[in-house]
């Protein structure tokens, strides 16, 4: 039980997917302009990453490992993730149009979000079982959401006209991210 909690905390805070492992930087920098969009993307990532980790784990344990197709994992996982995103999109469109409307444009972006593939591959590397994979996926996605929502909050308070011209735009966002990363380094003391 303790180890399961540790996997989640480690995924969300200690090894934060964005600020410590640099996965999903594209969307982290691109989408964090608006708070609402960041929160929606975060929810979509939690949704997809948890399901993707579960499906990848099942496929790896039941198909890839028994047939010695370990080397195929990158190809299989990226295809599974792409297909999964499509299915989730179609499913949401049919069953709950309201959620689809809120998350719709962000779902396709998740296919090429390296965090999803990264987590699936790391889970396999660590030899996690099914439950550990799901929890690690969920924890990582929560960490991603936390980071992008916090950055969006910081960005909404930056007044660009106060800055020297060369610092405007991308540099100040990266510096904010660096400061957040320093703060998150403090969580490394949590590993018990």
């Amino acid at each position: 039980m303790k180890s399961l909690i540790l996997i989640m905390i480690s995924g969300a805070l200690i090894n934060n997917v964005v600020l410590n492992q640099f996965l999903g930087i594209c969307s982290f920098l691109g989408v964090s302009k608006q708070m609402k969009a960041s929160a929606s993307l975060g929810v979509a990532v939690i949704f997809v990453l948890t399901i993707a980790s579960a499906v990848a784990s099942i496929l790896y344990d039941l198909v890839l490992k028994p047939f010695n197709l370990d080397f195929m994992k990158t190809i299989v996982f990226i295809l599974v993730i792409a297909a999964l995103v499509q299915i989730v999109e179609m499913f949401l469109k049919k069953t709950s149009p309201a959620i689809y409307k809120a998350l719709g444009i962000y779902l396709p972006l998740i296919t090429t979000n390296c965090a999803v593939l990264g987590v699936a591959l790391t889970n396999v590397q660590n030899g996690y079982n099914f439950i550990e994979c799901v929890l690690s996926g969920f924890g990582t996605a929560v960490g991603y959401t936390l980071a992008i929502v916090l950055l969006a909050g910081i960005r909404s308070r930056i007044r660009e006209e106060d800055l020297p011209a060369p610092l405007r735009g991308a540099p100040i966002v990266l510096i904010s991210a660096a400061l957040m990363s320093i703060a998150f380094m403090g969580f490394s003391g949590l590993s018990f």
């Binding site: 996965l23 295809l79 972006l109 991308a170 991210a177």
Partner: protein
């Protein structure tokens, strides 16, 4: 200027993928802890990029337009797997240092971006040169970032000590926050000397393909602005 040479110049300087187009930020930030890692990652990506550009350029009249993205992803993923196995077999130290980031070359925006923006419209020879130029541009940017971080954070360059023992290195630069700071510094310098980063322009050339989260996001903004 010769068309092939022009492609090289374009990738290395005019449209440098990392410094000007700001693509492939994940590996840039993650593996630039030492200059030698930058070279390893850069050259691996270059190899994949040249081959994927070649294959996609050769197949550009065969792949139907509607399923081109899944087709490209399968091609790139296969090439990455081959590269990964070769690195694991012949360069185990590089494999150890780069770890998870080698399979993640699959989702590097630069590769799908070049397939979409260049290789599927041009002949194989030019596409190879485009891949080479872009790949080397990426390698140089990555090595430069790695070099800065290594010198500041560990006092060494390519493993050799360059700062005197009396200067204690600033460890923060080889830790995660240092990655963000160094890239921020690079962009500040580029802005200050007047080289514009051109993310918006790429979106126009690229036709909003939705390959990369950042590009697709600015697409959405552009569509809203147009309304």
């Amino acid at each position: 200027m010769n068309k092939h040479i022009e492609r090289l110049y374009n990738g290395l300087i005019k449209e440098n993928p990392t410094l000007v187009l700001m693509l492939g930020m994940c590996p840039t930030l993650a593996v630039s802890t030492a200059a030698i890692n930058g070279i390893g990652m850069g050259l691996s990506t270059t190899a994949v990029l040249i081959l994927s550009n070649l294959v996609i350029s050769l197949l550009r009249r065969v792949i139907p337009n509607e399923v081109r993205l899944p087709a490209y992803i399968v091609i790139v993923a296969s090439l990455v797997t081959v590269t990964e196995l070769l690195i694991e077999a012949y360069l185990p130290t590089v494999y150890e240092a780069l770890g998870i980031y080698i399979p993640l070359i699959v989702v590097n925006c630069i590769i799908l971006g070049r397939a979409e923006a260049y290789a599927n419209k041009h002949e194989p020879g030019l596409s190879i040169m485009d891949g080479l130029g872009m790949g080397l541009g990426f390698t140089i940017a990555l090595t430069l970032a790695g070099l800065f971080r290594e010198v500041l954070g560990a006092g060494t360059a390519f493993g050799y000590r360059v700062l005197p023992e009396s200067v204690s290195p600033m460890g923060i630069f080889i830790q995660p926050p240092g990655a963000f700071l160094i890239i921020a510094l690079f962009i500040v310098i580029m802005n200050a000397i007047g080289i514009k980063t051109r993310q918006k322009q790429l979106v126009e050339n690229d036709g909003c393909s939705g390959n990369c989260a950042a590009c697709a996001m600015s697409c959405e903004e552009r569509k809203e602005e147009a309304k």
